[in-house]
């Protein structure tokens, strides 16, 4: 059976990533609108503030009767936010807070329960489907591809994937030593949400922007998607949680033709062609979208299949078959 609908998951993923990013930009503007409403000071606003007021009023008035109160429903960022009364936090925030304070604060830990459950089921889905930094990193990756086409020497170094677990460990130790949640300063999704808020509502970007730009340069100059692959502490945590995920992309060896497109397209440098997905896969589904024979699809499985050998539609497999047939013929 061909699972053609799964080829469109990548488009859906881009849609969700863009929606999340737009929400992160919209929420600070809505906050400004709320403060203008609270101060009843339309006549005292500057022209650009009036523009914010008017556009947000135009945007919300068809849906909301009392925006000053109702807009409290969506607050925060993907690092920690409120969505219609439901408080959600990044598991990394919980790890950081627990190691900084060396105590467990249950109301906060519960806010990370839903993301953890989803990660146990879908693996590193946050990285591929929600993280606002992923959107920027993937666009940055495209720029890198253009530069490479233009003939610029773009380095594609390979580091050790386990480096990010070291970042996670050292980050936790440092948080405990300093008594402050240091992950917040180096975790791109947290930085992006915060910096957008600063730029819109507080005035000017903060120091996090510089760090994020450095990671973009790192991706361009040192290693393709290098920060996510090798350095991100959140990615490390999600990978660990999703090690035995229930849904995972698997290769159907009977329809695979060894075209290697999946290995080329994989932004995380994994090895779908030889069933090497592992805990790092972020379910970005780029390999599913690119597969010409629909050999890759999501399956209910707790472990990856061990290398199933060359695909049955490929040349290598045919040669092997012919050889073994010859051997059998000779035996007879």
């Amino acid at each position: 059976m061909r699972h053609t609908w799964q080829r469109h998951l990548n488009k859906l993923r881009w849609l969700i990533l863009s929606l999340v990013f737009c929400t992160l930009i919209l929420v600070p503007f809505l906050h400004l609108y709320q403060t203008y409403l609270a101060s009843h000071s339309y006549d005292l606003l500057l022209p650009k503030e009036k523009l914010v007021y008017d556009s947000m009023e135009w945007l919300t008035s068809p849906f909301l009767s009392d925006p000053e109160i109702q807009l409290e429903a969506v607050k925060g960022t993907v690092w920690s936010g409120t969505l219609f009364g439901l408080k959600l936090s990044d598991p990394l925030a919980v790890v950081g807070q627990a190691s900084a304070g060396l105590n467990l604060y249950w109301p906060f830990i519960l806010t990370a329960a839903l993301p953890v459950i989803f990660t146990v089921i879908f693996g590193r889905f946050f990285c591929g489907w929600i993280c606002p930094a992923t959107l920027v990193y993937e666009l940055n990756d495209n720029i890198g591809a253009w530069l490479r086409k233009a003939g610029l020497p773009i380095s594609q170094r390979r580091l050790d994937r386990r480096l990010k677990y070291l970042v996670l460990g050292i980050g936790a130790v440092l948080s405990a030593a300093t008594g402050a949640v240091l992950f917040a300063a180096i975790y791109p999704p947290a930085i992006i949400g915060r910096e957008i808020y600063y730029a819109v509502a507080v005035g000017g970007f903060g120091g996090g922007t510089l760090f994020f730009l450095l990671t973009l340069l790192f991706d361009l100059m040192v290693s393709r998607r290098g920060f996510c692959r090798y350095l991100c502490p959140g990615g490390a945590l999600y990978s660990l949680l999703g090690r035995y995920r229930i849904f995972r992309i698997q290769r159907n060896v009977a329809t695979c033709n060894d075209c290697t497109k999946c290995n080329v397209v994989c932004p995380f440098d994994l090895d779908p062609l030889r069933d090497g997905f592992g805990q790092e896969c972020n379910n970005c589904t780029a390999c599913i979208a690119v597969c010409p024979t629909d050999a890759l699809k999501f399956e209910l499985k707790i472990r990856d299949a061990v290398n199933q050998g060359p695909g049955h539609l490929g040349q290598q497999y045919r040669k092997q078959q012919q050889k073994s047939e010859k051997v059998e013929v000779q035996k007879i």
């Binding site: 929420v27 607050k75 409120t82 925030a93 060396l102 050790d160 949640v181």
Partner: protein, 195 residues
């Protein structure tokens, strides 16, 4: 070869970690004394606050008065992106929304009732400079007492509207914000232990 490179990473990582550990720890401990800023209402004692705050910025995002600012690197790495209030610029109106929004309890959730606010909010304590205060100079003013959200609980006025700050002052800073003297004759002295 792979194992060797892994060991290399771990050694380099351990060295970098150890050196930065000591410097970070020092940088984090520097700024806990003699600080001249207010934390939002309901904040825990400074060290506990830093340990709990995840720098998410939600307190600023719910503040209807836009009183909450966020530190850059100027105040040390530990307090990077943590909230603070400069009352002379924009003071806290004690709406208590930030405590409800805070996911980690770094800002305690406090009901918006006079008793709860007086008992739990310890941002600081207002202090009158009698040499600057107009009322103490015989020019009846009383603006700060009128700005106080807890009149006759935190502040009362004496002869010629002279402000007298009482023990129940929570340090919201509305008096400092409203003071017509330049520099302000009444200032909130932050309490980092919030006791």
């Amino acid at each position: 070869m792979e194992r060797r490179s892994l060991i290399k990473y771990f050694v380099v990582g351990a060295i970098v970690g150890a050196t930065s550990l000591s410097s970070f720890a020092r940088a984090a401990q520097q700024k806990t004394v003699s600080s001249r800023y207010l934390r939002p209402p309901g904040a825990l004692a400074e060290d506990k606050f830093l340990a709990n705050c995840i720098h998410c910025g939600k307190c600023g995002e719910v503040c209807p008065n836009r009183a909450i600012n966020f530190f850059g690197l100027g105040n040390g790495l530990a307090s990077l992106d943590t909230p603070y209030i400069v009352p002379r610029e924009q003071a806290c109106i004690l709406c208590m929304k930030c405590g409800d929004a805070c996911p980690t309890g770094a800002l305690k959730p406090i009901a918006r009732e006079v008793e709860d606010i007086v008992a739990n909010v310890k941002m600081g304590h207002a202090r009158v400079d009698k040499n600057l205060c107009l009322s103490y100079q015989g020019k009846t003013c009383g603006v700060c007492a009128r700005a106080c959200p807890l009149p006759d609980i935190s502040m009362r006025v004496g002869f010629l509207e002279t402000p007298i700050v009482m023990d129940a002052c929570v340090g919201c800073g509305l008096c400092e914000r409203s003071c017509i003297q330049i520099p302000a004759a009444i200032k909130v002295i932050p309490d980092m232990q919030r006791s």
